[in-house]
């Protein structure tokens, strides 16, 4: 039987009641007065700090239980404490995107009658990795346990780890070949996986028999359950000190306080109005083995974002005009989009006060039905939804940043996060055993620039503010590859007065295996997906993969010949081709190919962030330092930034200020010579639009957006003074 909730209402009724109260009063759970906060603000703040400490401590403890380098080394984990209705009260650091997706999971169970069957009892453990219930993608597996106090359900403790292997059609977590749900891997759909604080043996057996590397998943489960139990016991102890009535009230006041604080911060940091931006994503799979011909193999998505800030402080993000879901792995669910909003707000606006679900409640997401942001088909794959989610929120960050610039808070303006490709692998390990793993050094790309300084080099990703690429030695323990290079990619940040943060490239020698499958996902090689701001340029597109099969590296090493440790700076001929013999391979987009073996070489570049401001204003002295340290090439300093460098007596680059001033004046003049009035350009370009004189993928993109969005159609038609529908969707019904 269901144990008694705190109120006379059952959980489902209580949840619906809470939503009704929010609708009627505009305040979370109908809390119009922060009575406890007003009575004793110090006690109020202290209690929330304690809850946060419970979360941080539980996560750190749990990371020591995990076997996964993703969790142990890179910190791919987050934990949180929730109200009985599933709203986050307090959370740890880590992959905060999942704090709100877990909230959706709890609410889903409540709304789907879990009180009656399978019932919610003390000691139960529930798990989920179904993004239509509440997560982002299959490898993000979440566990929650109910918190009971003297028989009353008083909250939930939850934890998420990103699994490095999910058992999909391709090894690893971000299953790049998944084109439908049925190839994404092992699904756990809001399932009771344990009772009496113990994970069920049959569940563990299912994991062991359906995953390539079950030790990661299973020990992560134990880590998560341990952290949940730790938080649960701490909360129970706290309730015994402050009383149940106080707990039930204060936990909700924390959330209402978080909601009000978000509105206040918006009024403090931004300017009301409508902000717009867009980004694009290009997918290239034609001719690659393994892809089923369920849709176009190559496609282009537009991702327009409109953000409105109203004078009451509410932020609305609207994705109207974007593309439909497709038979690929990059679709996203509303839960994932919610999570993106949550993690963006926690980084950009909630840097003080109570961080919880209240901030999310002060915002609204408009996700058009049928698009990749809100598919109308729950069979779609979401295995690599970050590929579209991250660029979308990169735009959102730039829109928020423009509002910070307008308000004068230039130090908070940030060109935004980047999307960066991932490597997944599997096959035979260096120990001769089957294995599978996602390589998570991707959790340290280059950030976008700030409005007052360069972006962070190899130290940022949007999904985890505690970015970390992990130690080489730890990764080498887990895969049959050894590093022969890990280095900064010159010019990988977008150019600007402040450049985007640079990324890095790794080069490996495949070692002690005869069968290593290497796959990569989340590439946008044909188009920029990381934009710039206020005159800054986008970061370069995803770079091509370069590999050498049957290399002669061992012979070269034996002779003491120089090797290549990075691709180099010639985009036409890599240093691998110059220095290493063998069968050289250059592949654009997802790396899907036959298995590698010992002696092969593989390289993978990550992405940098966009730039800020006019390139001709970049500090020449800083640029000389960048060139000396490999963040920029001499060619870029001269050709892009207009900075004339000369060498000092030791051969180090120094800026020639006078020559730079002269060169930049000439470049400015040249700009004006090359440029034309926008009105003239529009008049000329209209002819091309009228003829739909575009690549097939571009035409398809316009046709899809027009079919889905009357607003996109109207705005496109008005801008070019054409009938967009008759050009791109002739014969279609309006």
């Amino acid at each position: 039987m269901l144990d008694k909730p705190a109120s006379a209402l059952r959980l489902r009724e209580r949840l619906l009641d809470s939503e009704r109260l929010m609708e009627e009063t505009g305040c979370y759970d109908g809390i119009t007065e922060l009575t406890l906060r007003n009575q004793d603000p110090l006690k109020f703040e202290t209690l929330h700090t304690k809850l946060r400490a419970y979360c941080v401590s539980a996560r750190e403890m749990a990371r020591r239980i995990s076997a996964s380098p993703g969790v142990r080394e890179v910190g791919e984990m987050v934990v949180a404490i929730y109200t009985p209705e599933g709203d986050a009260i307090a959370l740890s650091n880590g992959i905060m995107v999942h704090v709100h997706t877990m909230s959706r999971f709890i609410k889903w169970m409540i709304k789907n009658g879990y009180e009656d069957n399978p019932r919610i009892r003390e000691g139960d453990i529930f798990a989920n990795n179904d993004a239509f219930i509440g997560t982002v993608q299959v490898p993000d597996v979440m566990d929650v346990v109910p918190i009971f106090h003297e028989g009353t359900l008083v909250g939930w403790a939850g934890a998420v780890c990103h699994e490095l292997e999910a058992g999909g059609i391709t090894p690893g977590g971000d299953v790049c070949l998944a084109q439908e749900r049925f190839t994404e891997g092992l699904f756990v759909c809001a399932e009771k996986i344990g009772e009496n604080d113990e994970i069920r043996r049959d569940y563990v057996i299912r994991c062991e028999r359906n995953l390539r590397m079950p030790i990661y998943w299973v020990l992560d489960e134990k880590a998560k359950v341990a952290s949940c139990i730790d938080m649960r016991e701490s909360v129970k102890q706290l309730i015994s000190e402050i009383g149940l009535d106080y707990w039930m009230k204060v936990s909700k006041e924390f959330i209402e306080e978080g909601r009000r604080a978000q509105l206040a911060r918006t009024r403090q940091l931004t300017v009301p109005g409508i902000y717009r931006g867009h980004t694009f994503y290009g997918h290239v799979t034609a001719g690659k083995p393994g892809f089923q011909l369920l849709g176009d193999p190559d496609w282009l998505y537009n991702i327009p974002i409109e953000m409105e800030i109203t004078t009451d402080g509410k932020i609305t993000m609207d994705c109207e005009g974007t593309q439909p879901w497709g038979y690929h792995s990059m679709n996203c669910t509303p839960a994932g989009m919610d999570g993106g909003m949550f993690v963006t707000l926690t980084q950009h606006m909630n840097f003080e006060g109570l961080v919880n679900d209240g901030a999310w409640m002060a915002t609204e997401l408009k996700l058009p039905h049928g698009t990749w942001t809100n598919p109308d088909n729950e069979m779609v794959a979401t295995a690599t939804s970050w590929a579209l989610l991250l660029p979308a929120y990169g735009v959102f960050q730039r829109l928020l940043s423009r509002s910070f610039v307008a308000r004068g808070f230039v130090e908070e303006a940030f060109v935004g996060q980047v999307n960066s490709p991932m490597i997944e692998m599997g096959g035979e390990s260096q120990y001769g055993t089957p294995f599978g793993m996602a390589h998570f050094e991707c959790a340290a790309a280059g950030s976008g620039a700030l409005a007052i300084k360069d972006g962070l080099d190899t130290a940022y990703v949007g999904w985890n503010p505690e970015s970390d690429m992990g130690n080489i030695e730890v990764w080498e323990q887990s895969m049959p590859m050894v590093y022969i290079g890990r280095s900064i990619v010159p010019n990988s940040g977008g150019a600007g007065k402040y450049r985007g943060g640079c990324s890095f490239v790794s080069t490996w020698l495949i070692n002690k295996t005869s069968h290593l499958r290497l796959h990569t996902s989340e590439h946008s090689s044909r188009v920029f997906d990381n934009g710039g701001m206020c005159g800054g340029y986008p970061a370069p597109t995803c770079q091509k993969h370069r590999a050498v099969r049957n290399s002669d590296i061992h012979e070269l090493a034996a002779k003491g010949e120089p090797l290549a440790h990075a691709p180099g700076i010639d985009p036409h001929v890599s240093d691998y081709e110059r220095n290493i013999g063998g069968d050289h391979v250059v592949i654009e987009g997802p790396y899907i190919t036959s298995p590698h073996k010992s002696g092969d070489i593989f390289s993978h570049s990550y992405n940098g962030g966009g730039g800020y401001g006019d390139v001709l204003e970049r500090d020449p002295i800083k640029t000389a330092w960048d060139v000396e340290n490999g963040f920029l090439t001499r060619q870029a300093a001269d050709q892009v930034f207009g900075i004339v460098l000369k060498d000092d007596e030791d051969g180090y680059p120094i800026a020639d200020i006078d020559a730079t001033v002269e060169r930049r004046a000439a470049m400015r003049k040249e700009r004006l010579v090359k440029a034309v009035p926008v009105a003239d350009w529009i008049a000329k370009e209209r002819g091309r639009v009228e003829k739909a004189d575009f690549a097939p993928e571009v035409k398809k993109m316009y046709a899809s957006a027009i079919k889905l969005s009357s607003r996109f159609t109207r705005e496109f038609s008005e801008f070019w003074n054409v009938d967009a529908r008759s050009i791109f969707t002739p014969g279609a019904k309006p």
Binding site: P272, S525, G535, L616, V640, A675, F694, A695
Partner: protein, 164 residues
């Protein structure tokens, strides 16, 4: 109440403030008098006298020019009514060939110019690069920002604009 001098904010905006001091500003409670002080910093920076009402980019400002509110470049060039998209009165340079893209990305793999172009929006008077759009060919120019200027001054700053 946190507050900074105009000089400190001027250095902050110019990227000249030492990092430890910048870091402290980022971590501290925000200064409620920031907006008008920062406007004063920008007003000192520009050579023209029209009062700045709102910064909208690194070198673009909405200002009161007689009875009109216009978007103006730091150099003084007017892009017209602030409610209209200033880009439509800019000069544009489009990079839609490998050669033109290679000028900005000399050492990297390039996007496909059939799928994507770079549009540079430039002040026709001083040549400042105000904004870069990376867009598919044929994509309408984006109107980046339509501020609710009157609501901002009236409801958030408590100083209604004259003539509002």
């Amino acid at each position: 109440m946190t507050s900074y001098s105009k000089e400190v904010l001027g250095d902050l905006a110019a990227g000249k403030l030492p990092w430890p001091q910048t870091r402290r500003i980022m971590s501290a409670y925000k200064d409620d008098d920031r907006f008008f002080k920062m406007v004063a910093v920008y007003q000192d920076r520009v050579a023209w006298k029209d009062p700045i009402l709102l910064p909208v980019s690194d070198h673009l400002f909405i200002c009161q020019s007689g009875d009109e509110r216009i978007t103006r470049c730091e150099c003084g060039h007017s892009f017209g009514d602030y409610r209209k998209n200033w880009k439509l009165n800019a000069a544009i340079h489009v990079r839609n060939t490998e050669e033109a893209l290679r000028e900005i990305y000399p050492n990297s793999d390039l996007p496909d110019p059939q799928w994507m172009e770079i549009r540079e929006f430039i002040c026709p008077q001083c040549g400042t690069l105000h904004e870069v759009e990376a867009a598919a060919p044929g994509y309408p120019i984006v109107h980046d920002f339509e501020p609710d200027l009157e609501g901002f001054y009236r409801e958030w700053l408590g100083r209604p604009l004259q003539g509002s």
